[in-house]
């Protein structure tokens, strides 16, 4: 009798989703799927609105990474204005983007994933949470809080508010940096870097304990897509698109972001409201690729800052050759990127022109189509707008970082489920591993789903006819 196991919602991720595991007659996993279960339809909502509202509108599609949406939206608006923003404005935008990355990665590592990493996949779910981490390693938990506070404080210092800053505007930023704010941020960074370095050093000691997970957590071949700088280095704000294959061969390079449609196709499936982007030249679903920290580090020639480059070299030693394949190493890549972000923010703040008051280019719309691409913490974020002669939006396409990873996440849960789940002897730890591989990607579903309140973790066993056989519920 074939059965289906449903894990809903997936816990310790941003947003709401369900995983279903299809078992065969022998109780072994036949297939696994990741479902985004709720529809939001933001692209349609935006039609008819003035393009200048897009940064504020799209930022509200997500309370988790609004800074990323603000940046991608404003870059699309810059494109509509046909302006090149002042250099100081670009540096300030880079700083707020890196601060967002710091606090977001800190949340993912310290609060969402550390319970699994420190307490174990099979630990009692009642204690496998942040309080378990606090009891076992309070210094790590305190470091996580402080690092998050540092990232959030920089966002607030620049943007004036934490969740939905409106300081970034089409053409640049609305206000120049003041000397006192500059001093506040500079004072924070050395402490942040020390926290990041000691966390990285600690995590390196954990990695050898997870060889099995590294071998089976989404380690199958995919392509890697990200922005890189024109020199091919790590890039989070601007630059060009690069796509590598699983052997490390560069298939696409120096692709201007406004040509993204040449690379990325979008498919839909009837079991999820999330789109399935794919690499167009290889077709669907063969053109599976990953974005985010793992892809960025795999694609970059170098980070360009001292400590991060050392960490990048060590990251590459996780595997004998080629791009690091295992999605388990997203955790590692996040810590490398936190180091990079803190180093780079300090460098940018020490730029002699960072207090320059020319921070905004002013223009009206000068074209009817604008594309803005930036690297959000979870990967490449694409905003594409078309406007009419009155500046009103006629068409929008948003490709969210988590969406790029959709095919890869489905592939990863299939791999993990087939490795660890035995439908005849179902244990919570098995299902936690299936959830945990999703947490490696740190998906943020807020941009593509919409939920009120919370749902319990629900596991249902159904027979081939769909009848409910058994049901477990975890509040």
């Amino acid at each position: 009798m074939s059965r289906t196991i449903s894990i809903e919602p997936v816990t310790r991720i941003e947003g709401h989703a369900r995983i279903s595991l299809q078992l065969d007659d022998q109780g072994q996993v036949q297939d696994a799927r990741f479902h985004l279960t709720q529809f939001r339809g933001f692209e349609k909502f935006c039609e008819g609105r003035p393009y200048r509202e897009m940064p504020a509108l799209t930022a509200r599609t997500c309370g988790i990474c609004p800074v990323s949406h603000v940046l991608a939206a404003n870059k699309a608006c810059d494109h509509l204005l046909s302006v090149s923003i002042p250099p100081t404005a670009e540096k300030l935008r880079r700083i707020i983007n890196l601060a967002q990355l710091t606090q977001s990665h800190a949340l993912s590592f310290f609060h969402l994933s550390s319970p699994d990493l420190l307490l174990g996949w099979d630990a009692d779910p009642a204690s496998r949470n942040i309080f378990g981490v606090m009891r076992q390693n309070p210094d790590l938990a305190r470091d996580g809080i402080r690092l998050r506070q540092i990232g959030q404080t920089i966002i607030e210092t620049l943007g004036g508010k934490k969740i939905h800053p409106t300081w970034v505007v089409p053409g640049g930023v609305s206000e120049a940096l003041t000397a006192d704010k500059h001093a506040v941020m500079l004072r924070l960074l050395p402490e942040g870097l020390e926290i990041a370095k000691r966390t990285y050093a600690f995590f390196k000691t954990l990695v050898p304990k997870f060889l099995d997970e590294a071998a089976h957590f989404g380690s199958q071949d995919t392509l890697f897509l990200s922005l890189v700088s024109p020199e091919g280095n790590l890039e989070h704000y601007d630059g060009v698109l690069r796509l590598k294959d699983a052997r490390g061969r560069i298939l696409e390079d120096q692709v201007p972001t406004w040509e993204y449609e040449r690379l990325v196709g979008e498919a839909v499936e009837d079991f999820s409201y999330m789109k399935f982007p794919y690499y167009k030249p290889q077709g669907y679903p063969k053109g599976i690729y990953r974005v985010g920290p793992l892809a960025r580090l795999n694609n970059a020639n170098a980070c360009g800052t001292p400590y991060a480059d050392v960490a990048l070299a060590e990251f590459r030693m996780l595997q004998e050759s080629g791009p690091v394949a295992s999605s388990f190493h997203y955790h590692y890549a996040r810590l490398v990127e936190i180091i990079f972000a803190l180093e780079m923010m300090e460098r940018l703040l020490k730029d002699p022109r960072i207090l320059d008051t020319r921070v905004r280019a002013r223009a009206r719309s000068n074209r009817d189509e604008g594309i803005g691409v930036a690297e959000a913490p979870r990967g490449t974020l694409m905003h594409h707008y078309r406007i009419d002669e009155n500046g009103l939006i006629t068409w929008v396409n948003l490709i969210i970082a988590t969406g790029h990873n959709n095919l890869a996440m489905n592939q990863a849960i299939r791999q993990v489920a087939k490795t660890y789940v035995d439908g005849n002897h179902l244990q919570e730890g098995m299902l936690n591993r299936v959830e945990a591989v999703i947490r490696c990607f740190d998906p943020c579903l807020s941009c593509a789903s919409h939920a009120f309140g919370q749902m319990p973790l629900l596991i249902e066993l159904r027979d081939a006819a769909g009848a409910l056989v058994d049901r477990l519920c975890r509040d």
Partner: protein, 230 residues
């Protein structure tokens, strides 16, 4: 907003809002003071200025684009406009996030202000809060105030005396920082209640019932209905 906490911040959506939002973090101390730049992971006691008699933190939270859910941050903004006694800090937030545990750790008292979804619209109530780890959320970007207190207690071995003051909202539809007439009418009462708690000793507000003793892992509600409308 109890009962709709999941909507805070993450709810998004197309609201009737201005592009230059008025709401943000409001604080009675400068950014430099609030940051605690020299501190490591040890909270700083001098964030409240020069040796105040007590340190009271007020946190108003809620989504500014969900109608009456904005009453928390709007109340915080009104309080921050002053005058405030020495040793009082005011923060406005969409949601309660982990790093606020550091702010709590240096406070003697904390007063949370939130909207309530159930009850008689316009009713203002207050209750004592105790740390409660079991109030943990499966989501990561917002916390229950009791959970936040438990983070503080667990990590810094202390938690401030805490109260939650709420006003029951009437409408939580999209509206940017615009309260319903009922919630607007409740705002002065809510502010009076917060000021009464602010003026209290930390054991109970002056002239108001003394709060029940702390019971671990309990969410005891010593609420007092101050005003009813409708």
């Amino acid at each position: 907003m109890p009962g709709l906490a999941g909507a805070n911040g993450a709810v998004g959506g197309v609201g009737d809002f201005n592009t230059d939002d008025a709401l943000g973090a409001v604080s009675t101390v400068s950014a430099a003071e609030a940051v605690g730049a020299e501190s490591a992971v040890t909270p700083r006691r001098d964030d409240w200025g020069a040796d105040p008699p007590s340190r009271t933190l007020i946190i108003g939270y809620g989504s500014p684009i969900r109608g009456d859910d904005a009453i928390g941050p709007l109340a915080a903004e009104a309080l921050a406009a002053g005058p405030l006694p020495p040793g009082v800090r005011v923060l406005a937030r969409h949601v309660l996030t982990a790093e606020l545990a550091l702010d709590l750790a240096t406070a003697d008292r904390v007063i949370f202000i939130d909207a309530e979804a159930s009850g008689e619209p316009g009713a203002v109530t207050w209750q004592a809060l105790a740390p409660n780890a079991s109030a943990a959320s499966s989501m990561a970007h917002f916390l229950d105030p009791r959970e936040l207190l438990a983070w503080c207690q667990t990590l810094y071995q202390r938690a401030p005396a805490a109260w939650l003051v709420t006003a029951v909202g009437q409408s939580f539809d999209y509206a940017h920082c615009r309260l319903s007439p009922t919630a607007q009418g409740a705002l002065p009462t809510l502010l009076d209640q917060v000021r009464a708690l602010m003026a209290g000793s930390g054991e109970g507000p002056d002239g108001l019932p003394v709060i029940e003793p702390y019971k671990p892992n309990s969410f005891h509600r010593a609420s007092m209905r101050l005003r009813e409308t409708g």
